[in-house]
Amino acid sequence: MAEGTDKAREEFLSEAQELIEGLSRSLLGLDELQNSGAEDPSLINEAFRYVHTLKGLSGIFSAKAIGTLAHRVEDALDALRLGRLPLSAEFIDVLLRTVELFWQLLSHEKDGDEPPDLQPILARIRRLTSETSSQQSREEFEFEPALLAVLTEYEEHRLRTCVERGLDLFKVRVRFGLATLDKELDEVKLRLAPLGEVITYLPTGEAASLDAIELDLLLASGSDNNAITQAIGGTNVTVEQVPRRAVGPASSPLSKPQSLEPLTSNRTAMPTQHPDSEIAQAAAIRSVSQTVRVDIRKLDVLMNSVGELAILRGALARMTERLRTDGQRQLASELHRIYRSFDRRLSELQGGILEVRMVPLSQVFDRLTRVVRQISRDVDKSVRLVVTGSDTEIDKLIVEELSDPLMHIVRNAIDHGIEPRERRLEIGKPEIGIVALNAFQKGNHVVLEVEDDGGGIDEKFLIERAVASGHVAASEASVLSRDEIMNLIFLPGVTTRQEVSDYSGRGVGMDVVKTNIAKLGGVIDLHSERNIGTKITVTLPITLAIVSALLVRCAGNTFALPLNSVSEAFSLDPGRIKWIDSREVYTLRGASLPLCRLDQLLELTPLPASNRKRRFVVVAGLGSRRLGLVTDELLGQEDIVIKSLGKSLKQVRGFAGATELGDQRVALVLDVAAIIEEVLRGSEGRELVGSLHE
């Protein structure tokens, strides 16, 4: 079994995931550069370092298969970064395939999934790396041994490469304050970047003190001393060219470490201060790393506590109210002040926890980029992926669940949407198809769009399929509106293509995508124009942890409706109800809204007519599918934490869970998406579907 405690092992799994993501990102970057004919040695080195760390880790944690694969990939990348192998498109291909395998191996480590067979890929890597040219012993180094002594093999290689290109080598000595080291160093790096490549930083021993340090930045550049000095500016800087020495015999080894002079410089050394032990003690207690890794479940527990506090807050408010009505005004107003400050702090706490849960969408987008590349190669189409808004943030849990549905949508876009090359040229479209992935925040929602410039969806075919699968009667087919037709794609068993390809239509249809998005509290919409393209819009709540809900009463029961699925509420005017096909429809601003009486739907005993003054309609649903839910009373808005109904009640449709309210009573939370689905499907009346457009 693996070494290390559970905690260390869990950390291993999440770090391995980050490393694989990092590897994937670097490789995709390389691929992009390769396509545009450019090169960036630092990207290869980055990829190397990810896989290098992964190898070391998997060794420590006894993940043998990951270790084996990482080892081979590392060798290949090492040969690439040290210039022993040329980088080819095929090479990048093979490397990107290993990323997929790493994912599978990792899920094998995590959940015991079937591990993939590594032999084919190992053989391919072996074949590619067997062409290694051994130009190891070309030119010997012409720099001071003291300088070479502290470089890693890779840094030495970069140094050699730069010098071979005719660049000069400079030591840029800069004094930094320890407290602001990162910021100042970034600034310097930024200024040096246009001048050449910073190979490494060498800390000098001389001027180090408790609060400052000197670094020699080793810069390979075509500029001269003056230009570099000017570019950096500042007073704490000296620039010095590193002299080349005549080529000697193979690097003369240093006999004793003491003989190692710090890189020569004519600056006077600062006296070294001995650390004041008291300050040192205090400082050492401070945490060194700026980030912490937290299990999302721990945040859930915290969020639950916040939920409990919110309930206490409600109780406090009611107590204040009672004191006031009992005539204890002074006490009531004091308590009210406490309540207000409690309320403010609680909101801060809640906001803080929510913020910690947020991660940028780039986590899934990076994977999608890889998928696009893979699929477009396999179906032989040229596709360019254009991504915007990948820094948009959303709840970590949503990101996890998002990757499958998005992957499916993107697959469809490439496989079904984008036309084959010849067809595109024939109809005057650019040869390269475009799939755009956009994300942006809109209020409390995040909107994701997947848009392709392909052939669009064939209406006729879609209707045929829907009729064939029994979802639509042949007689109704002719009167469907375009949007209604497009929505047919979300019905089970409806696909837009006759032949099932490897990539899409493997039994998982858009109906599953839709269900999965709905599980996250999101909605999906589709818009398609023949020969212009298809756009799929997914709207998701930013977080699932805490939601604002509208509380309603119906037949003596309290229900909560997540506000993100409520668009408006108004009092019911019985005069506006029409009956169409034995269904109630409400006329709202000239459009018709299907109605659903909540008490009837849930089979509750309705209040006697004498008890009803007026009733209310809550318009639920987003996008094109809406429903008016008729209730007895609107109670108001409250932030709730949704708790699961537990395993035994999991099958009950129509409820998203339960929640505890401020008055310590429990209310059921309605699953609006499921109810709409149920009611609109049950109606079989296509007039009711998506008939309200604004």
Partner: protein, 130 residues
């Protein structure tokens, strides 16, 4: 004994921390401070004193060899032992570490026992005046 572990992998740092902090023989328990790269180590070092620095070699920016060279050329750190760790492979890097005056070298992957043994060796070597 206070130990500084410098490695860009947090799982490795945790592994090292747990391996060494578990070494609770009376009077010899270790406090492990973490730094996730060479620069961070430079910042943390003056807050010592540290008896031992365990550092990865292959890190971007200030690498393990540079960190070692810095420690060896700075008088205030003359009592600091340095144990280099790195994934096996580059003999050159390992050899350079030895020449720069590393007190020990350990190839990844290593077990907790191997790490503790290496730490003990460095400590013994240091206190013997080597």
């Amino acid at each position: 004994m206070r130990i500084l572990i410098v490695d860009d992998s947090s799982a490795t740092r945790t592994f090292v921390r747990e391996a060494l902090e578990a070494r609770d023989t009376p009077g010899a328990s270790s406090e492990v401070v973490e730094a996730d790269n060479g620069l961070e180590a430079l910042r943390v070092l003056p807050r010592g004193p540290y008896s031992l620095v365990i550092s990865d070699i292959n890190m971007s920016g200030v690498n393990g060899l540079e960190l070692l060279n810095f420690i060896r050329s700075n008088k205030s750190y003359e009592n600091v032992g340095v144990l280099l760790i790195s994934t096996q492979g580059s003999e050159k890097d390992k050899e350079r570490g030895r020449r720069l005056g590393a007190d020990g070298y350990l190839a990844k992957p290593f077990t907790a026992d191997e790490l503790r043994q290496a730490v003990n060796d460095v400590v013994a070597k240091r206190s013997a005046g080597g």
